[in-house]
């Protein structure tokens, strides 16, 4: 072991500039953390299988009902949305993974070790969100396109398929990865606020799944007005190729959907800087 090196004790620049310079190292560290636990792989694998497998399965079910009295026709079917609908199952896995990336540090006590290594709480959270977000975006995009092509291959047996050049289809499919990114970061942000796994998952599922049910029984103009802006509705609009009458444009829907994740992340950033670890 080397003896003391006096140069190491020299004060250095701190603050935002230093944080920026440290970002690559901290991001690398977060990448090492992410790839060194099996739950990351399992959860991503579940998301991929759900997106591609369920998309193909739903397409198969649709194709098998062609010719029945109430079976699908070119007019009633949205072949693109049908093929990427597995995303609505995959989002649960991705959301939980986003929660775990943060909450597992608090449940194991690792949060203190991490905060001692990286005293800037914002830098640590930003690196975590960036690494996790990048992984989810890449995996999500690949899965969405794979699901689309698998689904169209199945639907083409009954000539119900569409192509990426059809109106809105390329945009809708490409939004698949973005959709999962937003849900993942929403989970990560909520975990930053709540710090506990169960609480953060409950909050996430509450927002995505329970809230729409609670709004449903409200008196008529309110129910519709509110539900238009709920995460589940704007998410659906984001993945739908052709805008339905009365719904938001894909850009509006995407921005509102993203705003939920941004709000959770801002809350996490503010609280992580205010609270003790």
């Amino acid at each position: 072991m080397a003896t003391l090196d006096a140069s190491r004790v020299r004060p250095r620049a701190t603050g935002f500039a230093a944080s920026l310079a440290d970002f690559p190292g901290v991001a690398k560290s977060e990448w090492t953390k992410f790839r060194s636990v099996r739950s990351s792989y399992w959860t991503l694998a579940i998301a991929v299988v759900a997106t591609v497998g369920l998309g193909a399965l739903l397409s198969l079910a649709v194709a098998s009902r062609v010719g029945h009295p109430h079976g699908p026709t070119r007019a009633t079917l949205d072949p693109a949305l049908e093929s990427i609908s597995g995303i609505f199952l995959a989002e649960l896995a991705i959301g939980v993974l986003g929660v775990l990336v943060v909450s597992s540090e608090f449940t194991t006590g690792l949060a203190r070790v991490s905060a001692a290594a990286v005293p800037s709480r914002s830098l640590l959270l930003a690196a975590k969100a960036t690494v996790f977000g990048a992984v989810v975006l890449v995996v999500g995009e690949i899965s969405a396109f794979a699901a689309f092509f698998a689904g169209q291959a199945v639907l083409s047996t009954k000539s119900l398929q569409t192509t990426l050049s059809a109106p809105g289809v390329a945009r809708a499919v490409a939004s698949g990865g973005v959709y999962l990114l937003i849900v993942g970061l929403l989970g990560l942000g909520l975990a930053g606020i709540v710090r506990r796994t169960a609480g953060a998952i409950a909050a996430l599922f509450g927002l995505l799944l329970v809230l729409p049910l609670l709004v449903l029984p409200l008196p008529s103009p309110w129910s519709g007005d509110i539900s238009t802006y709920l995460p589940s509705s704007v998410g659906m609009d984001l993945l739908t190729p052709v805008r339905a009458a009365g719904s938001l444009s894909p850009l509006e829907a995407g921005l509102i959907f993203a705003a939920y994740a941004v709000a959770a992340l801002v809350g996490a950033f503010v609280l992580t800087n205010l609270r003790d670890v």
Binding site: M1, A2, T3, L4, D5, R8, V9, P11, R12, A13, T14, A18, D22, G25, V26, K28, S29, E30, T32, K33, S36, V37, R38, S39, S104, E105, T108, G109, L110, R112, V113, S114, A115, A116, A117, V118, P119, S120, D276, V277
Partner: protein
Amino acid sequence: MIEAVGLTKRYGQTLAVDGLSFEVRPGHVTGFLGPNGAGKSTTMRMILGLDAPTAGSVTVNGRPYRLIHRPLREVGALLDASAVHPGRSGRAHLLALAEANHIPRSRVDEVLALVGLTGVAKRRARGYSLGMGQRLGIAAALLGDPGTLLFDEPLNGLDPEGIQWVRNFFRALAGEGRTVFVSSHLMSEMALMADEVVVIGRGRLIAAQSVDAFIQASSQNFVRVRCPRAGELEEALVARGASVTREQDGALAVSGLEPAAIGQLAHDTGLVLHELSPQQASLEEAFMELTAGAVEFHGGGLPSNPHLDAVGRG
């Protein structure tokens, strides 16, 4: 060098740390002692910038921890050996810490070898024994080859061989000029390891001095005297202002007089002494005496006995 000035931490109604001021100097192993709930762990967390002080400040090498750039190169700490993701290997755990502080990858294998974990480095931490976890925590603290080291109860879970290794290792680190600050409830170990002590009770400073001075200050120091005519000697000693108690086997425990004065007195009185031996309090006895009024949680029932009273971790 760690310096706390008026360090205070309040949790709601509870004052966990109350105006604590002390210095931990380089080149020594400094023991951090205090009964359960005295505020040792809270103090350690404030040193590392994990908890913000309610009042006062604490600095390492003159700066608050959170202003230290890539701090693992300057300060290494082990707060809780179980603070590892159970699904992550020891090596990946250390690698992530190294990368965050621009510490070369080769250093990870170096510290693994240093603590004797090379063989299990790729195993998931879930399968580690208590002692292996403790060694991993020590490896993490050493990762950046820091000049200041903090350890909260580093001996927990170690076997006697491991304890001896840690003791020698910490002394060697201090010998290299590093600042080593160690909390432990194993007083006998602390007596062998530490040169200096910082003792706190109920969040307040009780003593900050050398181990020797700390023990000297204890009233538990006495001179054991055996004399065939103990009664006469006792009278003479009391007449000279000493305080005398009888031990179970009839020996006299004398405090307030030096051995030389006792011998002279015996000679002057014409008494024969069979034993005249100065007894020094153990660190544990000195600690028990000084913290007696500052114990947060007393064990109930049993009569007070310094060797039975739990001096648990705080």
